[in-house]
């Protein structure tokens, strides 16, 4: 078989050397930016680790499971267990509250329960929730939420002092709500309309369509949003500091004060010196690792779910 002469391209104009050079330049620039982010991340991690090194040497891994936190000179003892406990507990609690609420809001806003115009306004309002500074959330917690909780618990004769794991978790849940709602709504709205029609066409109810088709199809986006929210909850500092009570103890009651790593750092850094700085840095490093684990876990879950549905 002979190879025919290929017909000339529709335009005889060939790309000039400068054009090709520009392409390469663009590629290089993008690569540099991407590497910069990577470098930044590594630098932060290394810096924290280097500063934490004295404490790492001193306390080793037992830092993770001891509860003493005593910065008094001569009697120094540092253990981060109550703060890890507080961090994980407040995050988990806030997720427990915010996930159903956020997913419900997202569904409501992506379905046509109400006219589009009102929906658009509501979507905007939810996103506005994310724009409120965390110190304002803290103040709201102190002046509105805690008095309200006090009154509520008072009805049942339960004494409630105020700053506590519960108060912090509740405010955290409000703070992460817009993240979960916005991302879930986006992934639900991005589903092809054929999916919905296909389900309705088979005689599915709206309820069945939402829970058996739409949520499973959007699950990777929803989980992604939840994990992002979890990251935010774990790292949130200001509002939590104002509400959590900052007590370095492990208490089984949610009504008792506790502490989180981020809150610990915010409270103690200003006056810390010597080995305490190192201990705080060690705690910060642990927070970074915790967040990293959460992110890896999230990625793994999203992959697992996608593999199931794609």
């Amino acid at each position: 078989m002979t190879v025919g002469i290929p017909s000339p391209p529709p335009s005889s104009r060939s790309r000039s050397a400068t054009e090709k050079e520009l392409d390469r330049l663009f590629e290089g620039t993008a690569l540099t930016f991407a590497l910069f982010i990577l470098l930044l991340l590594v630098a932060i991690g290394l810096l924290v680790l280097v500063q934490a090194w004295p404490a790492v040497k001193e306390y080793g891994l037992s830092f993770l499971w001891t509860s003493a936190w005593n910065p008094v000179e001569g009697r120094q003892a540092f253990g981060v267990l109550p703060m890890v406990y507080g961090t994980l507990l407040t995050s988990a609690l806030s997720l427990l509250i915010a996930v159903p609420l956020g997913l419900g809001t997202a569904l409501f806003l992506s379905e046509n329960f109400i006219p589009l115009k009102i929906r658009t306004v509501l979507v905007f309002l939810v996103e506005l929730l994310a724009a409120i500074p965390s110190v304002v959330y803290g103040l709201w917690g102190i002046f509105v939420l805690i008095p309200a909780l006090k009154w509520c618990f008072g009805l049942f004769g339960v004494s409630f002092t105020g700053p506590s794991i519960l108060a912090a978790s509740l405010v955290l849940s409000v703070m992460i709500l817009p993240i979960i709602t916005a991302i879930s709504r986006d992934s639900l709205a991005a589903l092809p309309p054929e999916l919905r029609q296909g389900s309705y066409g088979l005689g599915a109810t709206r309820w069945g369509t939402i829970f058996r088709v739409l949520i499973p199809a959007a699950i990777s986006g929803i989980v992604g949003g939840v994990m992002l929210a979890l990251g935010r909850a774990m790292g949130e500092t200001m509002a939590v500091t104002m509400l959590v009570g900052n007590a370095n103890t492990i208490s089984s009651s949610l009504l008792q004060p506790g502490n989180t790593i981020a809150s610990l750092l915010a409270n103690q850094f200003a006056e810390a010196k010597g080995i305490q700085v190192a201990a705080l840095m060690y705690a910060a490093f642990i927070l970074v690792i915790l967040t990293l684990i959460v992110n890896i876990l999230a990625d793994w879950i999203v992959r697992k779910l996608q593999a199931k549905y794609d």
Partner: protein, 279 residues
């Protein structure tokens, strides 16, 4: 005094839409509105049982819109409303006490673009029966549905794989299998082959001929050869520009046996369309 038999023949000549004796779906003087805009006007058509009825016509003439009215899928569009009467075995489809979900279980739909759910092949088929609380043997139903859709041999070894792993033609047959798994009486098909290659198209067409023994099929198609190949009856829709109405208004131009529509239509516009003079 005319003989009754003769009278029927005379009537059928006078009013060709009354040829069919077993009418499943009937539209009577239907106008379809989107808000104030009338998209389709004056549709009166009788869909005969166990036959394939094709809706043909140029783009934007409202064939799909009319089709979607039959299983109330247009309800999803907020501004949609219907004037006139649509009946299913004499029952008004748009009566206040009619549950659209119930309607859609009896009148299934296959869409233009294959739209399998992001689930396994098995679950795609089982979805409909599950939501309508099917009590029988699910494995058996899945197999029968896939066999009827001429897909079983191609997928029997990978029922637990995703529906998206199939080719476009297979996906469309999966969607047909999914629709017949709920055992509807009528299957509406909205250009089911427009996204398919000729071989897959042929398979779907053969499938329709198989299914017609148990189902009534309405198919919207842009492909006139397809209409002549599969349809017993054909409805030709056309559209006209109406001044001040904000766009085109579709209407039913002619409805008759397919053979008559394509060889000896009454309306000149039908003749022009089927001979390819416009559209």
């Amino acid at each position: 005094m005319i003989e009754p038999g003769l009278r029927r023949i005379v009537e059928s000549i006078m009013n060709p839409t009354s040829i069919a004796n077993d009418v499943v779906l009937r539209a009577k003087d239907c106008d379809i509105y989107y808000g104030a805009y009338r998209a389709v006007r004056d549709v009166s058509v009788d869909i005969p049982q166990h036959k394939v009825t094709a809706f043909i016509g140029p783009s934007g003439c409202g064939k799909s819109t009319v089709l979607r009215c039959f299983n109330r899928l247009n309800d999803l569009i907020e501004v949609f409303h219907l004037k006139g009467k649509m009946t299913y075995h004499g029952q008004d489809l748009y009566a206040a006490d009619v549950d659209p979900v119930e309607v859609r279980r009896r009148i299934g739909m296959v869409f233009q673009k294959p739209n399998p759910f992001p689930k396994t092949i098995y679950d795609n088929i089982a979805y409909g029966p599950r939501i309508s609380n099917y009590q029988g043997d699910m494995d058996e139903l899945v197999e029968t549905s896939l066999r009827r859709a001429a897909l079983w041999d191609e997928v029997k070894d990978k029922l637990q794989e995703s529906g998206f792993s199939l080719s476009g033609g297979q996906q469309q047959r999966l969607c047909i299998a999914r629709t017949i798994a709920v055992q509807p009486e009528v299957v509406l098909m909205d250009e089911p082959c427009s996204a398919l290659d000729p071989i897959s198209t042929l398979k779907v067409e053969e499938l329709m001929k198989e299914l017609i023994q148990d189902y009534t099929i309405i198919i919207v198609t842009h492909n006139m050869q397809q209409a002549t190949r599969v349809a017993d009856y054909t409805a030709f829709f056309n559209a006209e520009v109406v001044e001040g109405a904000g766009g085109k208004v579709g209407y039913l131009a002619e409805f008759d046996e397919t053979q008559k529509i394509f060889s000896d239509p009454v309306q000149p516009e039908t003749r022009d369309y089927v001979t390819g003079r416009f559209g």
